[in-house]
Amino acid sequence: MSDPHAVTREINRSQMQVSDEVAIQITSMNKWYGAFHVLRDINMTVNRGERIVICGPSGSGKSTLIRCINRLEEHQSGQIIVDGTELTNDLKNIDKVRSEVGMVFQHFNLFPHLTILENCTLAPIWVRKTPRKEAEEVAMHFLEKVKIPEQALKYPGQLSGGQQQRVAIARSLCMKPRIMLFDEPTSALDPEMIKEVLDTMIELAEEGMTMLCVTHEMGFAQAVANRVIFMDQGQIVEQNEPKAFFNNPQSDRTKLFLSQILGH
């Protein structure tokens, strides 16, 4: 395979266990932007400990789908239940879900006026009401985990793209989320920085985090995911285990997409 970021290292699967407990349940969910039907009849169950990669052509609704899971976008029909809490207009539920679900964006979205450490402690202090000192200890712990504790007092503008994205991951982790959403976390990065971010994500997977990841890094999908979902035109077209998905795709759309993205 011609993937430049093929994962070469041994992955420790001892803690990567999928439990029977349901983390996210989406049933016949539909979403429109005005008259445009972006998401059509989405049905999907994510169990705790699953690592799901979502792929598909541009404009197929991947971002919209995962943004619905923490209500950055509102769905118009169907049901989304996250950790037993249904997403409705009730602000209490939305706040509850958001504090359980971490999200990492394509463009990092760090807060440029705050230091790295402040970026990481802001939400724990204001949302979880953690004492500042404790929040800072937790933040340093996660910054060490993403291997940039020495940058803690700098501002985001002073860091490279890869470092910023790792800070963004650490910032989410500081809220001790039970589910992590990634929306193309590496697609704004230079090739040499992609690997450092992917490594961080792999470590997270090794610790048993439930992850939903929109990405075109097929090496990552093959090495880490337990399920790959292919979307097109707002629908889930095919989903399967990575091995079967890549070696034996069923639908023509999937075959076409894979042949384009893998460059065969």
Binding site: V101, V127, M175
Partner: protein, 482 residues
């Protein structure tokens, strides 16, 4: 070596050399900036000529200035005696004699220490807002303010007992700045009441009562915000406070005042004038219009149609009406709408309308800053679980305000200069009001440039400082090292 030889290897590296004289220092600068083309040269020469004409015309006038005289005639006599018949000279003696009116209007002379002390307290109370504070800067700043204040108090002939009391107060402030600078914030919190008391005098209990209303808002807010949310909690607080202000306060402060009659001699609003008036209106309106402007800007971007419509309507209406119209409204119309016996101070009315006027402009400036923020900032704040007001306060506003600093400070500078318009509703502003009074004096009849130059200079110093401060702030907050 032939010309078409494609391979070349340098055997010796070249050292760096001085540029030719025409590319160096002053000569280069003059050539590039003053005489780079024929048109540029002509403009340079014309500019030099114009500057020469202005200076040669006005410099003698400045240099011949007279500082000690009691009337315009005496001034002219002194100039003629010293520099010959027909020489012209400035008569700064007018300022020497009338400076107190330019500064304080008709404020009673023996009470000048009150506005002077209020001004010093204002500077101390602004410090926690305007600068990053630490022990050293705070100590130095309060120390310098105290020394200057003592000199000023001595200059306005303050009675000894008052002098001692103010000295004691500022000694405490300096000590606090030295030991625990964070408590200086109490000067800021108490300043509105203390400043009011010093300037207008009257019983201590009315500003205390007014502050109690704000304490009520704070208490209600912190008790209810978890259940009712920020806007409703604040709203309930404001309602309770209004009930206190309108119906209860006077029944409490009245008896208190008769039981314990603390206070200062009363000074009426029509005794205010000069820069005292300009500063009272300017500073109050500036500090009040920023929060109002922020709320209006947020309202204009709100998802709630009613709030949005109200904000848009308010902003557009205010921006569509000249300030002068609003000032006339303040002095005439407002009186008709209010219950007949309410005595609503003219300065207070003017302050309210100037605040509202500048808040509308500031709201638009801040809206520009909000629009410049990427959507990702809102999304990141949402995704982390921050609620609307937390996101605004911690993420959005710090960045939007930073972007808007130049525009906001421009509005403030405009506002401060606009305080001279209050002359039109009969208040004695420094530029027109006081100058007219001075000119009406038979001794100073015929004086023309001096008052405008004097007042203009002070306005320039104040406005230029604001503009420099805005640049300092922009630099300090520069965080995107790209």
């Amino acid at each position: 070596m032939s010309n078409n030889n494609a391979s070349f290897v340098r055997t010796e590296m070249l050292g760096s050399q001085e540029p030719p004289t025409s590319e160096r220092g002053a000569i280069k600068w003059v050539r590039e900036n003053l005489f780079s083309s024929a048109l540029n040269s002509i403009l340079t020469l014309l500019g030099v000529a114009a500057i020469y004409l202005i200076i040669s015309g006005s410099l003698p006038w400045f240099l011949h200035g007279v500082w000690n005289a009691s009337s315009m005639g005496e001034c002219r006599q002194i100039v003629a005696d010293n520099y010959g018949e027909g020489a012209s000279g400035a008569c700064w003696a007018m300022i020497h004699e009338r400076w107190h009116q330019y500064m304080f209007g008709f404020y009673p002379r023996e009470l000048y220490w009150r506005p002077v002390t209020a001004f010093a307290l204002m500077i101390v109370s602004l410090a926690p807002v305007l600068y990053y504070n630490n022990r050293r800067t705070d100590t130095v700043m309060t120390g310098v303010v105290s020394v200057l204040l003592m000199l000023a108090l001595w200059g306005v002939n303050t009675p000894g007992s008052v002098f001692a009391a103010v000295f004691l107060l500022f000694a405490v402030i300096v000590a606090v700045a030295r030991v625990a600078p964070k408590y200086l914030v109490w000067v800021t919190i108490l300043f509105p009441a203390v400043g009011f008391l010093l300037l207008w005098g009257g019983s201590v209990w009315s500003p205390v009562g007014a502050m109690a209303g704000f304490v009520l808002i704070g208490i209600t807010y912190s008790l209810t915000k978890d259940r009712l949310g920020v806007p409703v909690g604040t709203g309930v607080g404001v309602i309770i406070a209004s009930i206190w202000w309108l119906f209860i306060q006077s029944h409490v402060t009245g008896p208190l005042a008769s039981a314990m009659n603390l206070g200062f001699e009363k000074v009426d609003s029509d005794q205010f004038g000069g820069f005292l008036l300009a500063f009272v209106i300017g500073v109050t309106a500036i500090s009040a219009s920023l929060p109002v402007g922020i709320l209006l800007a947020l309202g204009r971007r709100s998802d709630m149609p009613l709030i949005k419509a109200l904000s848009v309507g308010f902003i557009e209406f205010i921006r569509g009406v000249p300030l002068i119209t609003m000032l006339f409204t303040a002095s005439l119309l407002l009186q008709y709408f209010l219950p007949p016996q309410t005595k609503f101070d003219l300065i207070l009315r003017v302050i309210i309308l100037v605040t509202v006027f500048s808040a509308a402009y500031i709201a638009e400036v801040i809206r520009g800053g909000l629009a410049a923020l990427p959507k990702g900032q809102y999304e990141a704040a949402d995704a982390l679980g921050l609620d609307y007001w937390q996101a605004q306060r911690l993420i959005i506003m710090p960045q939007a305000l930073k972007i808007s600093i130049p525009g906001i400070v421009s509005s403030f500078i405009g506002l401060f200069k606009d305080t001279t318009l209050v002359a039109l509703v009969g208040l004695a502003d420094p530029l027109q009001g006081i100058t007219k009074i001075v000119r009406a004096d038979i001794n100073w009849k015929g004086i023309y440039w001096e008052p405008y130059i004097f007042v203009g200079l002070i306005f320039f110093v104040v406005c230029f400082s604001m503009s420099r401060y805005s640049m300092y702030l922009e630099n300090k907050l520069k965080r995107d090292h790209r």
